[in-house]
């Protein structure tokens, strides 16, 4: 069944989009990431203009994330206060990010920035997470005791002013690191067209030292706020949100997210993390490969005309 998208101005297979939305939603609910880093490249590959793909994808991510946030909050594993602080930073970041992206498009380097940041961030984060989680799995298989977790948190978290209590995360730290983290993720998410969960999840575990059970739900909560804001900003400023595209994706997405959140309980945390790491690494390498392979066609038409 084909559908003509009013903003993207292309005809797409509706069923395929629903199924894709469902798959990405499943991954999103399972790992606590938005799934934008998977979906945006797929949409662009299907012939949807990148600007429309990025903006509509934010809308889809908001839908599937809200669906899994509710599932996680029933398990009391969302730190709303921490999520709110991160989202404040995220809001500032996405304002900056939208402007940065406009400028990059103007000088024609948006493709390069996107490829490079996928390669850099997904590659590094995927690689680190993979070695860490595979190490843990191997140690457990060979019967060795797990490496003692270094409980000493970075002193910076405590040395800075504006300390706030985060009861659910059992933390009493300065708000400055989480806000800065939020800003960073916000900029990145506007440039890469993603929610930023793949950065938030490891950052909350390794930098903020939040307890693992609340990390996924909190990351999703932050993603809901940032992507909703991005969606409105993109629609208002660039008029690039295709509501038909977003709706097709989110029909599958919200169902997939529920199934994913259920399935996540059946895996061990480190196995889940190894899977996610592998996925992140593969997408990063695939996107980055374009930078090194000689292109078949030496010229590229740029979308977004001449503004």
């Amino acid at each position: 069944m084909h559908f003509y998208l009013p903003i993207a101005e292309v005809s797409v297979n509706a069923l395929l989009l629903v199924v894709l939305g469902g798959l990405v939603g499943f991954i999103s609910g399972m790992f606590g990431i938005g799934g934008g880093f998977l979906m945006t490249p797929v949409l662009v590959f299907m012939g949807i203009p990148p600007v429309v793909a990025v903006a509509s994808e934010a809308n889809h991510v908001a839908a599937s994330s809200v669906s899994s946030v509710i599932a996680y909050s029933r398990k009391r594993s969302v730190d709303f206060r921490m999520g709110g602080v991160l989202a404040c930073g995220g809001a500032i970041g996405s304002f900056i990010g939208v402007e940065v992206f406009r400028w990059l498009r103007l000088i024609g380097q948006a493709d390069f920035a996107v490829s490079l940041s996928y390669l850099l961030f997904l590659g590094v984060i995927g690689g680190l997470m993979l070695t860490e989680s595979v190490g843990t799995i191997l140690r457990r298989r060979s019967g060795q005791p797990p490496k003692p977790r270094r409980d000493r948190r970075p002193a910076l978290l405590y040395a800075l002013p504006f300390k706030v209590r985060f009861p659910r995360s059992r933390l009493y730290i300065s708000v400055i690191p989480p806000i800065l983290l939020g800003v960073f993720v916000g900029i990145l998410s506007a440039v890469m067209g993603v929610g930023g969960g793949f950065i938030l999840v490891p950052a909350m575990i390794y930098l903020l030292r939040m307890p693992a059970p609340v990390v996924v739900g909190t990351s999703l909560f932050q993603i809901v706020i940032t992507t909703s804001l991005t969606s409105v900003l993109q629609a208002g400023r660039n008029q690039t949100v295709d509501i038909v595209l977003a709706t097709l994706l989110l029909i599958g997405g919200v169902i997939g997210a529920q199934l994913g959140a259920r399935a996540s309980g059946r895996f061990r945390a480190e196995e889940l993390r190894a899977l996610l790491a592998l996925l992140v690494l593969l997408v990063g390498l695939r996107m980055g490969a374009d930078l090194f392979i000689k292109p078949e066609e030496a010229f590229v038409l740029m979308t977004g005309a001449t503004r």
Binding site: Y4, E9, A62, A63, G108
Partner: protein, 262 residues
């Protein structure tokens, strides 16, 4: 007697040979794009009026709304393939089809084809931002391109990429004479064809010269829900954004409620 004044004889009817003319009509002048739109086929019928029956050729040129475009070239810098600074081309139609009874270069020479913009190599597209006019060797108004010698490469790339996207095409067998003086052309509009005002120019060539030209208009417009959403997004972008977010959040909430019950 009043002399009868004879009425002067009617001047003899001088029949100057009527100039050959072409006439044509589109079977559809309005293409409505709604959710099921997967492209359209437009059929054009026309006739050549020429009492002398000289050999005639027909060229049909269909142009979509102009869309300035940006193009960049991939260059290798320190082992990485990067985009060069993009170049803006103006005057490029968003859609272009030329159909003719035979190969264009058999129909006419360079000058008339260039003048009419008939044929992919004769499209009047240029990169004005990359050009400056200067006086060289005493010759005034020489257009110099900052793109240098490979300007033609850029131009060809624009056409090639548009052809690959199905938006530009040339069909030297696209017009057929179905009867004496009666011809038919068929144009396929892909789903990616831009929305807007199109013109179909029908040119009658005789002896390598364009002797008669007809223009026909064609509108491609969004219809129904597609149009309503498009207008909503353009006219009230912030409300549209809010609505789309509310739909998204509502759908997420509804799914989680539904799954809790099950």
């Amino acid at each position: 007697m009043i002399p009868l004044v004879e009425a002067p004889p009617a001047p003899p009817l001088v029949l100057a040979p009527p100039a050959p003319a072409v006439s044509a009509a589109l079977t559809d002048t309005e293409i409505r794009v709604s959710s099921g739109f997967r492209g359209a086929r437009i059929v054009l019928y026309g006739a050549v009026f020429d009492p002398k029956d000289r050999p005639s050729d027909i060229v049909v040129i269909v142009r979509g709304p102009d869309q300035p475009l940006r193009i960049a070239r991939k260059t290798q810098v320190a082992g990485l393939w990067l985009n060069s600074r993009p170049v803006v081309f103006r005057g490029a139609p968003g859609f272009y089809r030329v159909a003719s009874t035979r190969e264009l270069q058999e129909i006419a020479g360079f000058a008339p084809l260039r003048h009419l913009g008939a044929g992919l190599e004769h499209l009047a597209i240029a990169a004005p931002l990359e050009q400056r006019v200067e006086t060289t060797y005493g010759v005034r108004d020489v257009v110099v391109s900052r793109l240098g010698a490979d300007y033609l490469d850029w131009r060809r790339a624009v056409v090639r990429l548009k052809e690959k996207a199905g938006l530009y095409a040339a069909d030297p067998r696209g017009v057929r004479f179905v009867d004496k003086g009666l011809f038919r052309a068929q144009l396929d509009l892909p789903a990616e064809a831009p929305i807007g005002q199109y013109t179909a120019r029908i040119v009658l060539f005789q002896d390598g010269k364009p002797v008669s030209i007809r223009d026909r208009a064609l509108v491609v417009e969004k219809a129904g829900a597609e149009r309503a959403l498009y207008v909503f997004a353009k006219d009230r972008p912030w409300t549209y954004g809010l609505v789309s977010v509310i739909v998204a959040l509502g759908a997420g909430w509804a799914a989680s409620v539904a799954f809790r019950r099950s």
